[in-house]
Symmetry: C2
């Protein structure tokens, strides 16, 4: 079986055996069967438990050998001393793809953990068997309502593929976006290279977000990441930078962290975009999932608050973007909306257009944004708007959707502030075409990623 | 009148005249009278409008001269050509404190703006008159339900004093915390020095957050900021760093930005904590408003996810904090909760304590946190918890409140992730004693401010 077919067994199983499923359900029972039924997974489910004939109405088998069917994937969540024997039974049954959730192997301090890990290792690639984990939540695939996670997830059908070394990213807080996900855990077998090969060919994934603590084969990783980066954006958060952090990684997933300088150079060379925090990873993934790439470095800022306009200028400098010199045609179109004494630059401060010239909000928004979007110098637009009242949200939505549809090649990022900003963000991002942040810095930063990745794609 | 008494006229007026109040109410009318009634301001309100006998049930006066009462503060929001004449009328009436909301003076491109500004300037300090603005939302004081802002605000009685050069900070998005606020606008008279003098003596303000674009008298600012910083933390976001940003500032508030290097040195020397973004300003203000200072640099991290534990180690290095070496007594207390093979370091990963040893959540939280909080080496604690189910929030709240009450001298910061993290944050921060962030980086960053400010305070 080639690597992609194998990874499809993990990500898109048509049938799954659950080893270590409890008869208890509800809070604190971590009952994966309960979650699968709740998600609405449509594949075959074979729970295994010698003490039950059925759990939650699903026929349950005493042993894996009793299941008389083809099984794409086994999910093992049993106490560690039982794991090797169960893996053997899975292999004997002909199962080729196995997720081990259990922890206490390479991540443990005792010899028994290391011994058990070695026992598991003997099954890897024997008869084509591949193992994901141990110490892993496994996979998530919202497109088929499936996850092997023993913590219930909130998944959405977003085109963001996540490969991580901690299950925390299955709860990806900042953007609350988890599309397909692979938690490598201790990564005794399946690693970044295999995961990247899957996402490379996956049409449901537009951008790949990596959380890396360490790995054994840096060359293989860089080769795979570089290959994928030529087709779709690959983002990487490399955690575990210091010596102290390396120790923490050792006890977390048992990986080797490597020198941070080497990582920096290798990621850069392969076209992978390195981010510095989980927040940045979420922001960048959101932006790439929603927006077109950006042609060039020059942006226009349309703001209703001069103060945040100034901050966006600082951010452009910090993140290596430029403020476009607006054409005189653009400037004249905007001039018609504001008092004659008002300075029109870039950032364009449109506030006096409502408050002094008394134009309707939607007129100012539409005409200003249309002016800058149609300006040849402008590759992307940052729109800054404080959302003081809730009922402007619908008008904002209506106005912006028309504009992004008319200018599909220019990314539009909003910076919204005020008490109703979160509500507005939810409405605007639901369009699938507009990204929203709460500070000019973070909005400008994502534009810089779009520009950088676009330059990389044009460089070969 | 001394500067504090004068500033009290602005921040704590017992009577206010409103010049330029509309008969129209509701959306888009920016009717400050409507907002004052809505906030529940208990002082006397004197609306002035020659075309109305009453507005919203409040007796209205044709001219300021018709008001037969003592007036602490006048708020002027009229078209710019009318402003100098109205100021004259206020001065003639004996009003000493005047806010000018109107824009189009030093911030305008035309000569008329500059001429009008000069006319206003002639009234400054004449007969003790002081002016806040123009181009300003004025002040906010939630403790007396008062704001001069012509945009309706959501204020809360938090001990954060804000001095800013853009009204955006009156909608302070990140923390949604605005206690008392002063928007300097173009700052033709009242500036940072006066505002700092007010906050220095104000018992309702524990931390002062500054947004600075530029100013005329750097020495006076630094002297005032340094004086206040010896008594309470002063945070500063200096915007407008580059040459391009300086131009944007010029058209925003007409201030001079100065060299960024000079700012850096001057702020540092005066004990002011410089932050790099509005987000950081909000985070730091939140932390100082909720938490005790931190004695030393050594923290303990208690986490239920090893991955975020590793990131917190990276963050400690980035923000110059250290992970405490836990005492053997502390380690032994924690060891009783987890499997024998589990590595106990710092970060302390307590996840196996629930999932393998099957202890109740509250037992693991209480015993681990108590162990690290009572460890002499530990100056502060970061607690990382993914909040997978909503009904753990109440237990978390109950557990943590008891702990912070038992250890009032050690800051406890939480990093919460997952779908219910925002809800949990609201509950925990409402205690007034626990600060919550969504990433380990931001949680560690605020601890570093607590440590740094505490070291500064101990240095003299």
């Amino acid at each position: 079986m080639d690597v992609v077919a194998q990874m499809k067994n993990f990500l898109e199983p048509r049938s799954v055996a659950l080893l270590g499923v409890s008869r208890r359900t509800g809070e604190g029972t971590y009952n994966i069967l309960e979650y699968l039924l709740d998600y609405g997974y449509q594949g075959k489910i074979y729970p295994v438990n010698p003490n039950a004939a059925e759990i939650l109405g699903v026929k349950t088998y005493p042993h894996i050998a009793d299941i008389n069917a083809q099984i794409d994937l086994a999910v093992v969540n049993l106490p560690r001393p039982l794991v090797p024997q169960v893996i053997r039974e899975c292999v004997d049954k002909g199962i080729k793809s196995i997720i081990i959730a259990t922890q206490g192997f390479a991540d443990a301090t005792d010899d028994e953990g290391k011994r058990l890990q070695k026992e598991i290792d003997t099954f890897v690639k024997k008869d084509g068997v591949r193992i994901l984990g141990p110490n892993s939540l496994g996979v998530a695939n919202p497109f088929i309502n499936f996850s092997s996670s023993f913590i219930q997830l909130e998944m959405s059908k977003v085109p963001i593929g996540v490969v991580c070394q901690t299950g925390s990213f299955f709860g990806f807080v900042e953007s609350r976006l988890l599309g397909k996900g692979i938690d490598l855990g201790n990564a005794c077998d399946i690693n970044f290279a295999e995961s990247l090969a899957y996402f490379e060919q996956d049409d449901e994934t537009k951008v790949v977000a990596l959380h890396i603590e360490g790995l054994r084969d840096g060359r293989r990783f860089i080769e795979a990441a570089g290959r994928v980066a030529c087709k779709k954006p690959v983002l990487a958060l490399k955690a575990g930078k210091s010596e102290h952090a390396a120790k923490a990684v050792q006890s977390h997933t048992g990986s080797l962290v490597g020198s941070d300088g080497v990582w920096e150079a290798a990621l850069k060379q392969s076209g992978v975009i390195r981010v510095r925090s989980s927040e940045e990873l979420g922001d960048a993934a959101t932006a790439f999932s929603l927006l077109p790439l950006m042609k060039g470095k020059k942006i226009a800022v349309v703001t209703s608050t001069g103060g945040l306009g100034v901050m966006s200028v600082d951010a452009c400098e910090q993140f290596d973007l430029e403020l476009a010199k607006l054409s005189s045609e653009t400037t004249e179109r905007i001039r018609a909306l504001v008092p004659p004494w008002h300075n029109i630059g870039n950032p364009v401060d449109v506030w006096p257009g409502y408050i002094i010239t008394k134009n309707p909000l939607t007129k100012v928004w539409t005409e200003t944004l249309e002016a800058v979007l149609s300006d040849k110098e402008v590759a992307a637009v940052l729109f800054i708007w404080p959302v003081p009242v809730r009922h402007t949200i619908e008008r904002l939505h209506h106005t912006l959707v028309k504009l992004v549809e008319a200018y599909p090649d220019k990314p539009l990022v909003c910076c919204l502030i005020g008490a109703h900003a979160e509500e507005a963000r939810a409405v605007l991002q639901a369009t699938g075409k507009i990204a929203v942040f709460y500070t000019p810095d973070r909005a400008v930063r994502v534009l810089s990623y779009l520009a950088r990745y676009s330059a990389f794609r044009r460089s070969f």
